[in-house]
Structure formats: structure tokens, C-alpha cells
Symmetry: C2
Subunit: 334 residues, 2 copies
């Protein structure tokens, strides 16, 4: 494989000149530039980014550590990050933690070894270990989607407000027994959504019943299990609030299997919309999060930090959710 020296020799110039042409840094006469470019072409030269990064201490690469690329919410976020990154000449390495703190730490370590310039991270739990690893090495970082007990740049959505709006919507429809199908209890989005639910209840003077709140994983399977369990309890809840899209799908499945009509016999609301490409005829009432924008914003903020164009103190950016009322929610059965 030809190196920069081969190019330099062939073009009859020094290696520094080749480097300058390739990086458009410093002055190069257009005649020399042309000769260099031609040599590059003739040799099929491909610069080695490892060497470049080793020397320049910058890799133009961002690490994106999220929980599950299988979830359309996250793919949408990832596309946002990717678009923001590539607009600024950065590439993105994506890692899935599957909500496992161990995998999270392992991937952060790996990305650190790969010398990424910055991190976008979705913490699997309400812990700070991985974030501290990053900050200890002075690598800029933006936390995505979730709060952690630390002062770091964060971009997330208003879980509390979204949950409040959904619950309020159900209360307005006359529901009084509303079950919450939660994710892991240690994740801020679950906590905040339960909190918003609770605030709406309080405001409406409906007593909070802890037996109506289940905690589990952000998966279809656990959504189905939680829904089934709730629907088998007496008195049966008249509405289900799923804290994420996969849980909602599981709940819908449970309702179908139990032959309960939605929304006639039981209403269902959820978080996160599914793209039209996947659901031709959306049915679920949801609090929709601006996933793509979240990704873009987080990416831009991180790059702003890297380039020194953003120097505010660390801040917690909270994007609004939008209540989208559809056919899965209806009046409470009397």
C-alpha cells in the first residue's frame, strides 16, 4: 500500500506538502497541488487515519453508546446523530448495550481505546461509572435520553410532562384505574414517567395505588407479561400506560390474546411513536418524542464542545413531547 512518502516521491515534493494538500492546511501553489493530486490518483493512495489520529490526537470519530438499535426510537436517534456528525465531517461508531451496565462500561472502554473524540451515551442505569471513565480522560460527552446524578450535558425529552399529558388524557376520559407498565426502576425515564402519572393523579384527586405500577424491561415480552398480570388483577384496570413503544406492543398483544377490545374494554397509551414506514395505520395514542431532533441536537452540542464553539456550562436540555391522540384510547367502560 502506498504511503504519503510514495506520493511525495512521485510528485517530486516533500511529505509535508502532500500532507498540506490532503488536509488543505497551509499554502500550496496550485501547480504543486495538482502534481500531488495526480500522484495520489495514480498510486491509488489512501491516507492512513490511524497514523493521522495518532499524530494529531483527533480521530474525527464519535462514540454512540445506546441501548438497542433494534428499537426504531433509537435508530431514529442514531440517524439524527449520524446526520449531525457527518455534516461536520465526523463519523460515528455505534454500540448496543442491551441495557446492561457491564456492556456499557466495556464499550466505553473500547471506544476510549479507539480514541474517539467524544461520546454520546445512554446510561443503562442511574449510575455514573461509565461517564466518569470518560470525563476522567477529559473526553467530551453528552448524555442522551436519561438523567444521571451528575452535572453533564444532557439531551432528553420531557418524560414527566409526556406522562402527565397521557394520564391527564385518560383521566379526562373517565379512567380511574390506570396501570403503568414501566421499564427498569433505576432508569430515569421510567421514574419520570411514573412521576408524571402520579402528578396527574394527584391533581385529579385520584389516589395513587402502587400495585398499579409494574417495573420490568423495555421489551415486548415484559410488556406482555406486565399487561397480562395487571389485566388479571381485580378490579381490572380500565387503562394501560406503557412507558415505551416495545412495552406498548407487548401490552397490545396481551390485550388481543385476552380478547379485550381496545379501547372499548381497555384503553392503551404509550410513549414513542413508530415511523409510518412500519405502521401503515397508526392506532396507538402516544406521547411522541422528537427522536431525530434529539439525536441531531445532541450531536451538534457534542461537536460544538469539541470545536470550542459551545462553552456554556453543562446543561440539561429537555425537549417537549407531543400528545398524539388516536384510537387506542377511549372512554372508560362504565
Amino acid at each position: 500500500m502506498p504511503t504519503i512518502r510514495d506520493v511525495a516521491r512521485r510528485a517530486g515534493v516533500g511529505v509535508a506538502t502532500v500532507s498540506r494538500v490532503l488536509n488543505s492546511s497551509g499554502y500550496v501553489s496550485s501547480a504543486t497541488r495538482a502534481r500531488v493530486l495526480q500522484a495520489v490518483e495514480e498510486l491509488g493512495y489512501v491516507p492512513n487515519r490511524l497514523a493521522r489520529g495518532l499524530r494529531s490526537k483527533r480521530t474525527q470519530t464519535l462514540g454512540l453508546v445506546l441501548t438497542d438499535i433494534t428499537n426504531p426510537f433509537w435508530t431514529t436517534v442514531a440517524r439524527g446523530v449520524e446526520d449531525a456528525a457527518s455534516a461536520k465531517g465526523f463519523s460515528v461508531i455505534l454500540c448496543n448495550t442491551d441495557e446492561s451496565p457491564e456492556k456499557e462500561i466495556a464499550y466505553v472502554g473500547l471506544l476510549l481505546q479507539k480514541q474517539v473524540d467524544g461520546f454520546l451515551l445512554v446510561p443503562a442505569r442511574n449510575t455514573t461509572e461509565s461517564v466518569e471513565m470518560v470525563l476522567a480522560r477529559h473526553v467530551p460527552l453528552v448524555v442522551l435520553d436519561r438523567r444521571i446524578p451528575m452535572t453533564v450535558d444532557t439531551v432528553r425529552c420531557d418524560s414527566e410532562g409526556g406522562a402527565y399529558a397521557l394520564t391527564r388524557h385518560l383521566l379526562d376520559l373517565g379512567h380511574r384505574r390506570i396501570a403503568v407498565l414501566g421499564g427498569p426502576a433505576q432508569v430515569s425515564t421510567t421514574v419520570d414517567r411514573v412521576e408524571g402519572y402520579r402528578r396527574a393523579l394527584d391533581e385529579a384527586g385520584v389516589p395513587f395505588d402502587p400495585r398499579l405500577v409494574a417495573y420490568s424491561a423495555f421489551t415486548q415480552e415484559s410488556g406482555e407479561a406486565m399487561a397480562r398480570q395487571m389485566l388479571e388483577s381485580q378490579p381490572r384496570p380500565t387503562a394501560l400506560f406503557a412507558v415505551n413503544n416495545f412495552i406498548a406492543m407487548g401490552a397490545l398483544r396481551a390485550l388481543r390474546r385476552m380478547r379485550l377490545a381496545v379501547p372499548k374494554e381497555c384503553s392503551l397509551v404509550g410513549f414513542d411513536d413508530l415511523p409510518l414506514a412500519l405502521v401503515p395505520d397508526p392506532f396507538l395514542t402516544v406521547a411522541a418524542q422528537p427522536a431525530y431532533d434529539m439525536g441531531v441536537l445532541a450531536g451538534q452540542r457534542l461537536i460544538g464542545r469539541l470545536e470550542g464553539t459551545i462553552t456554556d456550562p453543562q446543561s440539561d436540555i429537555v425537549l417537549p413531547t407531543e400528545l398524539v391522540v388516536r384510537r387506542s384510547s377511549g372512554p372508560a367502560p362504565s
Copy 2:
């Protein structure tokens, strides 16, 4: 940031010894090993993979170039690749081409610069330029999902057979006017699926009508547009065959909007199943592709090449599809 020298100094050994401990290469007394490990710990040393890669010429990284991570089919493939890779200590850099040959070439170039050890590539078109770039640099490569006119390792599914099975299924139900909603005409999966469709028609003695075949993009929007156009033609087709999942969703949307009952007034079949986590109550009759297995197999094959454990000639591995009959297909209206 501490380097290997700092670790060596602190442990009172040479850098070579530290390297040996870190890579478990060569003999090191367990006492020294312990001292080294302790120094690593105390300093919070993180090896620099750029330097390692520069020196060793291997990055333990694979490039995965696919078309659209927004499509569950591809996320599933990607997870398969990732699992196969991480089982062997490789990480994966994922790039989306959005079916654009230009982006494909740009990303291949970038990954080459990043010195990935191997490529998994989904060609956006029936062209060989990007593949040739890779092979010119003697980097191993596996083509995913699609044929190209070159002898390279390929892992894909039996598009022709799947399409044949779906069409046959519709013919058995009495359909005679079956429209095909295709992707780009230059992509082998589209071509092969039209081919399978045609074979089933021929076999049943149903004349092939080119006006019943539309070509477009693998998106929900074009699926909807193609379906609408087909359904407005006279005589109206009694069944629609969408060559991928997004197109099928678009078609379903068109059918709903035109208030045509499925399958009563029009049947719909497609390619690629959607995960249960996204569709609680699957409705579509499809030829399901083993997406995850495809990813795993391709990943394993690539790594086998890298490690020299696979030395067969380049081969075209074709996985079977499975016909999953559901409620979207029914008898042709009389």
C-alpha cells in the same frame, strides 16, 4: 494520559514486558505480570488502539456498509453481524448508504482509511466499483443480500424462490392479475423477485404483463405510490406483491386510504417479516428472510477469511426464505 512507557516505568519493567502482558503474548513471570497489571490499574492506563493498529496492521474492526438502518430487516442483520463480530473480539463500524452509490463509495473510502480489517457490504446498485476499491487493497469482503457481477463471497437469501412461493400461493388462491411493487430495477433482489414471480406465472400458464410490474425505491412512500397507481389501473389487480417490508407498508396504507378491504377486495403479500416487538398481531403474508442468521453467517465468514480458517473459493451462499401465510392473502374476488 498515561502511555505504555509510564506503565513500564511504574512497574519497573521494560515496555516490551508491558506489551506482552497486555496482549498475553510471550512469556512473562507471574510476579512481573502482577506488577504490570497493578501499575495499569493505578494509572488508569488505556491502551491506544490507533498506535497498536498502526504498528500491527490490524484494527480488529469490521466495516458494515448497508442501506438503511431505519429498516428493521437491516437492524436485525446488523445485530447478527455485531454478535458474530464481538464473539471473535471484533467491533463493527456501521454506515448507511441510503441506497446511494455515491455514499457507498464515500463510506468504503472512509473505512479503508480507518484501516478496517474487513468489509460487509450491501451494494446499492448492480455495480462493482466499491467492491473493487476494497479488493484492490486486498481487504477481505463479504457481499450481503445482493448479487453483483463478480466472484466474491456473498451471503444472501433466495429471493427468486421466495417470490416464486408467494406468487404460487396467490395463484393457488385464484389470483390472475398480480401486481409487483418493486424496488430499484438495478438491484438484484428486485430482479430476482420479479424473476421468481414470472416463473410461477409461466408455470401456471398465466401470461406475464409488464404493465403489472412497477419499479421504484424501497420506501413506504414509493410503495404507497406504486400501489395507488396499480389499483387505479383497469382492470384492477386482485393481489399486490411488495418486494420489501417498507413497500408493503406503503401498499397497505394505499389500500386503507382507498378503502379496499384486505384480503377481501385485494390481497397483499410481501418480503421480510417485521419483529413481534413492532407488530403485536402480524397480518401480512410474507416470505420471511433469516435476517439475523444472514448477519451472523456473513460475519463469521468474513472473520474466517481474516483468520485464515476459511480458505474455500469465494462462494455465493443462499439462505432459504420461509413462506408465512397470514391474513392479508385470501381468495381472489370473483
